[in-house]
């Protein structure tokens, strides 16, 4: 069974993988906040355990087993976040830190019960998909708000960043998942967008924000 540290490496590799599934040692090290030599030696040890494929000076790739193990850790994380929000009254900006710890608990029944109590959810409080028990992840098709055009009506479906700061920014503007937004205009100069939605006549969102909001186009 993977240690807490190993699980964190698997998760990072899963999340950082490019379309070919590759991750550089430097990205990995940076993402985990460790030095490159540390990431390097851990990758060697993950290879011995069969979780990754690795050759000197080449990027790292998860094996199918590694990918599944990673997805199952992510499943525990996202189920936990959903449980904290839906069953324990946490705000979506508060759950990440706690879930980072609970995801390493080894107790299948604990997470199965969460899953049941939540009615087998497929997305977490930030709109990210929850992998199933086999570690499969459904593909969600949303587009980034910054790519949409004035006149379109869209529904907020997920976020590409879930930092507490960003989530509080959204809270302050009553921007929650499911909200329908009408795009009033897009500023050619700074790429900011003006949108309107229930209770908010004309809210201006910077490019940085629009790039982090994922939406489904309604019309």
């Amino acid at each position: 069974m993977a240690s807490t540290a190993e699980e964190n490496y698997l998760k990072a590799l899963f999340n950082l993988a490019n379309p070919e599934g590759e991750v550089n040692i430097s990205e990995l090290a940076q993402s985990l906040g460790v030095s490159m030599p540390t990431a390097n030696s851990m990758v060697k040890s993950l290879q011995k355990s069969g979780w990754v494929v690795y050759e000197k000076y080449k990027p790292v790739t998860l094996t199918p087993e590694g990918r599944k193990a990673a997805a199952l850790v992510i499943r525990k994380h996202r189920l936990t976040e959903m449980f904290l929000v839906k069953k324990m009254g946490f705000g979506w900006e508060e759950v990440h830190e706690v879930a980072e710890q609970i995801e390493h608990i080894h107790a299948p029944k604990f997470f199965e019960r969460m899953d049941e109590m939540l009615g087998f959810p497929t997305i977490d409080p930030h709109g990210s998909p929850i992998p199933d028990q086999q570690g499969r992840i459904q593909a969600l098709s949303h587009v980034v708000l910054s790519s949409c055009l004035p006149g379109q009506v869209v529904q907020l479906t997920a976020l590409t960043n879930s930092s507490a700061d960003f989530l509080e920014f959204l809270n302050n503007r009553q921007l929650s998942l499911g909200k329908e937004l009408e795009i009033l205009s897009k500023e050619p100069y700074d790429h900011s967008m003006t949108v309107s939605y229930t209770g908010h006549h004309s809210e201006s969102l910077s490019e940085k924000v629009c790039e982090r909001l994922l939406v489904r186009v309604i019309s």
Copy 2:
């Protein structure tokens, strides 16, 4: 903040302390399943952190800070057990392993919410007291069933052992906390007792079992 290993030592010291608060290195080592040298060196390091008082060849004692820290870990453990039983549908024989892991989560709000959702319980599913947020533990006055006499009616209030095996033994006989038992007889030869309670006319309990059942005498 204490590491997981340190928290486990604090808990063990708390639970093993004799009336003078003393614990021998050998007991400590045995209880944690580590070698004596390991326990010895950990105790030295706990002393450096101010959690215990220790002198070579003398028994170990928790400091007031160590005692409080230990009680707060036990609080997390017992709140978790209660939460698993009352809110997540676990059996009382299943909760220990999971609680052993969750007790090391550092997330005050998580445990405060459990506490609220449970209505601020004072005992856990096995009848053990839950320390308060200051680490204080209420004294419960129960007597051991084996010390009771035929003719007495008692109420099952707690257990001195919560191994899954023992809890399943009790499940199989519908013996749960709160049950009222009438003591029909006590066998002088092997100290087994015959009791009757709802649905059970005459159930014989071995001395070993009677020593693990704590009761309140009703009449």
